[in-house]
Every structure is written in structure tokens, then in C-alpha cells.
Amino acid sequence: MSSSAAAPPATASGTLPELAGVSWRRRVTDRSLRRTGRLWTLSTISHTAPFVLAAGVLAGLRPVLAPVSLILLVHAWAIPELYAARGAGVVRGPRHRDHPGEPVALGLLGDLVDHRVRELHARTRLVLERGRLGTWLVGEAGAVLVRQGGRRVHCYCVKVPDPQLPPSDRTAHLLLALRTDETGFATVANLAFSGARWRLRRRLAEDAREALDAAARIDPAS
């Protein structure tokens, strides 16, 4: 028997064990998130600027090429929209809402959060969780981190690779991992999008927008 009433306190760890599987990654920090955000912005500009530039040059040199310029501008507009759509995909609605284990799983998830978060989850299927890096929205197969100030979001693709689990259990898995080690959670997860909150919001379903707005309203100091 490894534990008993007289045994020493249970050993606890604040490090996510899943980090061992991504040992080549540097642990996410507040600073590295800011750097990642800037790099995403630069990357998006570098992908779109050539189209905008070419559109301007073509229209300037030969006005007859204005339709081509228009097509180039549509390309420039579509690239960041596609990135944002990928980000929105991490919190897309559950695909197994009629899972027979869902009511039981929902009860356990409800026990882990307070009544306001429970009510928000009932409407949006997303769990709001405050962290040191910002405010998180945790879904079935991913999470969105709304940074302090609410202007920038980071969308993470992360899941428990067990297709048999009911949706709320999948969310609870991610929530518990996040609570155990926030920066470790962000390190294990794959970044799908980093950018402006408004850009992500346009790509979200109506209910997820409500959760995103709620996360942006959270004052990290409170």
C-alpha cells in the first residue's frame, strides 16, 4: 500500500506529464506568447502585402487591369480570413451531443466550475477559465486564450485522443490539464491561430461569440 492515513502527504506535481512528449518545444511563457503574436502578425502581413502591392501597381500602370487588381485584393483579404477560420475550428460545436454518457459527464464537469461558468457552458458549450496568461475558453477539442486587454487571441488545437468519450468529459480533460499546468497546457497544444479577437469573432458561431465576449470582459486583476 503506497498511502495510508499516517503516510506522508501525497506527492503532487505542477508539471503536465504530457510535456515529455513534446520535449523539443520551449515552454510557453507570457513573453513567448507576445513574441508569437508579433510573428503571426508579421507572417500575415508578409502573405498579404505582395497581393496588395501588386494590385496597386497593376491598377496604376494599366487601369484596364483593374479586375486583376480586384482579384489580388480578394486574395489579400482571404488569407487572414482563412487563418481565422482555422482558429474558430478549435471551438466548433460538439459532434457527439447525443452520446449516452453525456448527462453523467456533464454532471462531473458542472461540479468543477461555478454556477456562472456552468450557465455559460449550457448556452455555448465552452468553459470559461481565468489563468495567468489570460482568460481561456475550453471546448471539446481545443481552447482559445484571450490575452489580457482582450484584443488578441491564441487558438489551440488540443484534445484527449479517445473517440469514445462524451463531449463534456473531453472538455473536463482539457480543463483539468489546464488547471494543473497552464503554460504546460499551452506548450502541449498546437497553435492554430493567433490574431485579433474581432477577426476570430466573425468566424465563430453565435453562441461561441457570446463566450468570447464574456472572456474579453474578464478583468484579470479581479
Partner: protein, 74 residues
């Protein structure tokens, strides 16, 4: 009464229940806990928003210990 629950396809399953005053129940809970960890589960004690601890030994005073599967980037 403390509980050890495993998140699984049924929603969750109660693997063990114990009180510190019941040595037989504690022994059974510890055995069940060890077995689940050997099968690849991680044990977590959540204590509210932003706070959870991963445990490798059964915390006998915790009201609820949850077993979860490893997560991975999608």
C-alpha cells in the same frame, strides 16, 4: 466520503470510495488507484478555478480524485 472517479465513455465511473477511518476501504482505494495509474491514467485533484494538482499517490483527505487520459495537440 472521498471518491476516486475515472472519466470514461459512460461519463464517469466511481472506482473507489473511502473514509480515512476505514482502513479496508483505504486499502482497496489505493489498490484501485495504483491499477488505474498503471493503465495510463493521470490522477488530478481540482480545488477550484485555476487550481489542480496532479498526484501520484492517493490523497486520502481529498473529497474527489479524478482520473483522466493524457491529452495531445490536435
Amino acid at each position: 466520503m472521498s471518491r476516486l472517479v475515472r472519466m470514461d465513455q459512460t461519463g464517469h465511473t466511481t472506482v473507489a470510495e473511502w473514509t480515512a477511518e476505514d482502513p479496508a476501504a483505504v486499502e482497496a482505494a489505493v489498490a484501485a488507484f495504483t491499477l488505474e495509474l498503471d493503465q495510463g491514467y493521470y490522477a488530478v485533484v481540482s480545488s477550484g478555478e485555476g487550481r489542480a494538482e496532479q498526484v501520484r499517490e492517493l490523497p486520502l483527505d481529498a473529497p474527489l480524485v479524478i482520473l483522466r487520459r493524457p491529452i495531445a495537440g490536435g
